[in-house]
Assembly symmetry: C2
Homo-oligomer: 330 residues x 2
């Protein structure tokens, strides 16, 4: 093997048109296309070392041995890599992030996007973005979008080959900022993965899925035309739709908390007063508040004064997943 180790970094992303529910859970083929903004400054770095001495994969997170569920998930991903490459090598994976876990910033998207790059290089798989996007998807659906910077669409497709992300506008296209309001860092009681499986138990999911392409087109146009008001309306609607499906699943999933609700109300009020601001919420209580770069400081200040907001993490639009100089060449 010419290369025994590789290092890559990738950014998390925030979905503006949400991914929730699969056509095919095993291959992570989503029920509808989704659209996200890659979050700059925040990143996860993956250093991967293929080691013939290992008898299983070994995942370290921030220097400590990862819990069994995380080990299993990464190993399952590397099983695909081993099958595709025909190389039965186990790996040591060192993961580190510069943003807190449980902050409402999906860490799995950045981690699996970086892992897709690093493992493709080490195992000799194709490293063109579309192929990396497919591969990343197998680790975590939304990871397929973190391969690209800027604004990204995940084309849901019907099977592994047809399900991958494409860029729709580069990072410099529009200076949006995501102010992430951390309400709680408690681990969520139902994982996104389990939530995706429950989506089909909501009576509302068919209507959400059926109407998603229309929202995605409105969102795409709002981004291309830099129309914040249009973006705000469709982004909040799409977030509310996803949470409607969650709250009406059986059993119901309530990710909002009372403090989440307070931030939502304030953001709507500020917008009604003329501020360029809107919210979107993933599978957790924390609120992503989008605004324009020139308003970010003001909005961050206001958010940090709301009761229940523990911290506000600010992220601009970020770039694609990239290889970095390998610190520890084998």
């Amino acid at each position: 093997m010419p290369i025994r180790s590789a290092t890559a970094i990738a950014h998390p992303n925030i979905a503006l048109i949400k991914y929730w529910g699969n056509l095919d859970d095993e291959w992570t083929i989503p029920s509808a296309n989704s659209l996200s903004m890659t979050l700059g400054e925040l990143f996860t770095k993956i250093h991967l070392i293929a080691d013939e001495q290992l008898e299983c994969d070994l995942l370290m997170i921030d220097g400590a041995l990862a819990p069994p569920a995380a080990q299993a998930r990464v190993s399952q991903f590397l099983d695909y890599v081993r099958v595709y490459s025909g190389k039965a090598l186990f790996c040591r994976i060192e993961s580190s992030s510069n943003f807190p876990r449980g902050s409402g910033i999906a860490s799995s998207a950045a981690a699996f996007a970086a892992l897709a790059l690093a493992s493709a290089k080490v195992f000799g798989l194709p490293t063109d973005p579309q192929e990396l996007s497919r591969l990343a998807r197998l680790g975590s659906g939304s990871a397929c979008r973190s391969i690209y910077g800027g604004f990204v669409e995940w084309i849901g497709g019907q099977d592994h080959q047809s399900s991958y992300a494409i860029p729709i506008a580069p990072p410099q296209h529009w200076a949006l900022v995501d102010c992430v309001c951390v309400i709680s860092t408690a681990h969520k009681s139902v994982s996104s993965r389990e939530g995706h499986r429950l989506a089909k138990t909501s009576p509302l999911q068919p209507c959400r899925v059926q109407s998603a392409p229309q929202r995605l087109e409105i969102c795409r146009r709002a981004i291309l035309e830099r129309d914040f008001e249009q973006l705000a309306q469709v982004v909040e609607l799409d977030s509310n739709l996803m949470h409607s499906v969650m709250m009406t699943s059986q059993p119901p999933l309530f990710y909002w908390q009372a403090e989440t609700f307070v931030v939502m109300e304030e953001v709507r009020r500020w917008r009604s007063e003329g501020e360029a601001v809107c919210y979107t919420i993933d599978a957790g209580p924390n609120v992503h508040v989008l605004t324009l770069a020139e308003c970010a400081q003001k909005i961050q200040d206001r958010l940090s004064h709301l009761s229940g907001v523990q911290e506000v993490i600010v992220a601009p639009v970020g770039g694609p997943a990239v290889f970095v100089e390998d610190e520890k060449p084998a």
Copy 2:
């Protein structure tokens, strides 16, 4: 005219399977059947006097002249009565209730049910319950259910003739209690009437409507079998579905407040701990907490200690709308 005045009282009701959105807004033909429990001890009394001296209708609420919107709504209702009866008489209407307005207890249901009785008697229209139910519906959709006591289904129908309520179990069938948590008595910014018109702008309304008959059957069976756990699940689901439609209407309607959310969370937690308790929420922030009569005191105590709960009003299952001795015979 043999009778010039009449007095009737009716109770409000709480929908267990919600009415939200119409097939026909003008005639108040709902998109789906609904099911409610009539609330005892709380009532609205209507004293109606037809007076040839009057040149328009005159509505008094608790002794004071009612605001123009309420005057107009009652006058519009009496226009139907005048057309059906062929009697062009204007009326003085005296309304009084023993429960606070804006308490989250739908006052229009009780008021129009009582007004249907009183006006049918004064104008010589049929006073059989089915005909009264149709008539009450023209004033306020849910008023058609308040004609009956106990547990009541509103058969949505297709037109005026086919849209009326029927009783499904008498008050004494099951000793349920509604503990109404008053979160805010502020007047709602969007009326239920306007909200019904917005229902069709939510992408989720078709799925909610399409799946409603199944929930109604589960609810009916739970009532007939006195199965609280089954009732709790379907009642909360149905309430969450209606609020999902509200929050995803365009413009969105958010009736929940942060404190509403706290009560919902607590009620779910108590049930998970074994208490017979569930919530349902109408077009406002206040939370109706259903429980069994034997648990009512304990639940009321617990609710009244939650932050944000201003008052807890307790109502058992109530009886039908009835005529009462006319205090002021003409």
